[in-house]
Symmetry: C2
Amino acid sequence: IAKEVAKLLEMKAQLGGDEGKHKFVLKTPKGTRDYSPKQMAIRERVFDAIITCFKRHGAEVIDTPVFELKETLTGKYGEDSKLIYDLKDQGGELLSLRYDLTVPFARYLAMNKITNIKRYHIAKVYRRDNPAMTRGRYREFYQCDFDIAGQFDPMIPDAECLKIVHEILSDLQLGDFLIKVNDRRILDGMFAVCGVPDSKFRTICSSVDKLDKMPWEEVRSEMVGEKGLSPEAADRIGDYVQLHGEHCGVEPLASFCQARQGGPAAEGCKNDHVGEPVSVGSVAGGGRYDGLVGMFDPKGRKVPCVGVSIGIERIFSILEQRVEASEEKIRTTETQVLVASAQKKLLEERLKLVAELWDAGIKAEVLYKKNPKLLNQLQYCEETGIPLVAIVGEQELKDGVIKLRVVATREEVNIRRESLVEEIRMRTSR
Amino acid sequence: IAKEVAKLLEMKAQLGGDEGKHKFVLKTPKGTRDYSPKQMAIRERVFDAIITCFKRHGAEVIDTPVFELKETLTGKYGEDSKLIYDLKDQGGELLSLRYDLTVPFARYLAMNKITNIKRYHIAKVYRRDNPAMTRGRYREFYQCDFDIAGQFDPMIPDAECLKIVHEILSDLQLGDFLIKVNDRRILDGMFAVCGVPDSKFRTICSSVDKLDKMPWEEVRSEMVGEKGLSPEAADRIGDYVQLHGEHCGVEPLASFCQARQGGPAAEGCKNDHVGEPVSVGSVAGGGRYDGLVGMFDPKGRKVPCVGVSIGIERIFSILEQRVEASEEKIRTTETQVLVASAQKKLLEERLKLVAELWDAGIKAEVLYKKNPKLLNQLQYCEETGIPLVAIVGEQELKDGVIKLRVVATREEVNIRRESLVEEIRMRTSR
């Protein structure tokens, strides 16, 4: 009976709306979040570092719609297509939210017949994945993509992509990171040297990929036992995969591809860059996708492309935790001066002064009270980090001066009204 | 028969995918567009002016997800709810794309129990409206919202919203604009003074609203004939509505509310600001929405709000046309210097130098060719507006110098390599 009552109560709760006490769930959709002003301040620091780098490398910027025709995305993501958000068919075109920025970029190139561009694009993408938000995995998340499209001499654009990842991860001071580069042709060459028959490349490759989960001995016995590789060939592979260090390590490959954010999975990964700050997982990925634009072009014309994608969510988590730990006080506004008064009936004078300051380009605020207490106005400055207070007073108005107070030192000086803008600029220009 | 053949051919075309010659439509969804690098350059100018203004007024910034729980939007937009984009039910929560930034803001305030904030939010919103893209009306478009939430003394935050619209429209140098302010209570007061009975306020108001489409005489006869107003009262209204000029004009009111971008229609519009550049239509709107947060709060606690929303699409259209007309050459990158070479086999030296420049924070590019012709390199600078070329040559490398060429004047000087960064900074700092 208790169970039935619970069930009925639940049903009632669901129907509650009709009775005017609808139980409304106050939340953001699963896997998404709001950014508070403090979080936005950190996010803007990260974007600033990334955009500065992209611009330093001469990239243009484009933007595309948040949704695409459903068929634009069809056939580009293999298995992962099930994670695409579709829009409801409300009449008209069938639409889906973008899953990455790479496919829209390729669509843009084909549509505008662009054969040559270096561009960046920073925008949100959408995946109906199982979110793990504490580890920085969301259903709505930012990608910061830098791509070079065009027919160029080999490896020069690819190298620039690696340089960009290095510059950004260094700039952000996230600590040590590792950039992994792979090329399936290196692996194929190694297999050939080790005496793996061509027909076994794929299956032996998938065994090598298991090295991040299994010890070498188990992988070896799978190669020899299940997959029929000669023990000699397996041992030669063993020599390679157990090497570590500069220019010679071989490590599981497919896993890097999985770490790629964006880029068509079917493309194969000639180049793949994965930065791995300690215990954080990958924060960037990339590679070539030489066939993608051709999939959109009516005549199948190819535009070779290479690019890299920085995922800011994990980077953001690291920086947020660091700010939390350091108790660094992050300002969420840039206000230079609060226009205040110590006496009553000066609202109009405060508004007149703050408008003067705004018109001169000074970042200024005023409390929205007719007669605020001076203490409250000073407290507001302390809380929000405003460094200066311009205090309007009757005597000062008569004398043509404004009292300028430095919040940190409590120093107060009278400044002639016509010099106030200059004085504020001077005192806040550091 | 021809008709039947045509029908079958059409069906075949639709099924075409199976035969490997699927007729793919290469386009963005209806009512949306890509932004090219040139358009982005203009867009960033507009955003820069708007954000600078919002920050000058001490606003914080927040961000919310592009979609909300469907029920968050339910009941907030009246008739216009049919324009909301719903996501397909793929299991899990029912979601809709945000229709404006006001409702998500109110949800954010209620969810986080914030009673006091001044924030801006710049993001795309979505409406399944009939697009008129040539006139700057899209289904995906930006809103730039500035709102002040909190219990304050009357009209002070409202006045700041007006000041902000004035500052932004002035900064953008769009030409003359008109800001209209209304308050239903003023109209109600005017009706009372004119002798309109309380019970007729609504219906007489809707007659006044027709003044933007009909001459006064017709409106008057509707009031008296259809709506039974006394001729004396109608004439007194006529005196008011035919006034123009400072502080005394009365104009159609409901139409301003319609021009509002965002804000719940049911709120009524105590304040409403509409800027109207000549022949462009409204580019901003706003008003109070004192009841909205309470609709989300479980205990119905109200947070009074006032805000303004700048619609950049029309502004963007104006500026884009102006740039087109002026033949102003807009740069889409900020590159300061191209690292070039006149001789072959200097790829590595070019890459070494460009990396030095990047690491010193110089915006630099290099062509992705092993042995590019000097002419092509100089042409690239002309096309993209790069002002300087750093030319690597064998003799210069031996001498420890780099040849710096000014693209505009063709002047060339040898600069010691260790002074190059400083020289480039000096020559491009204006």
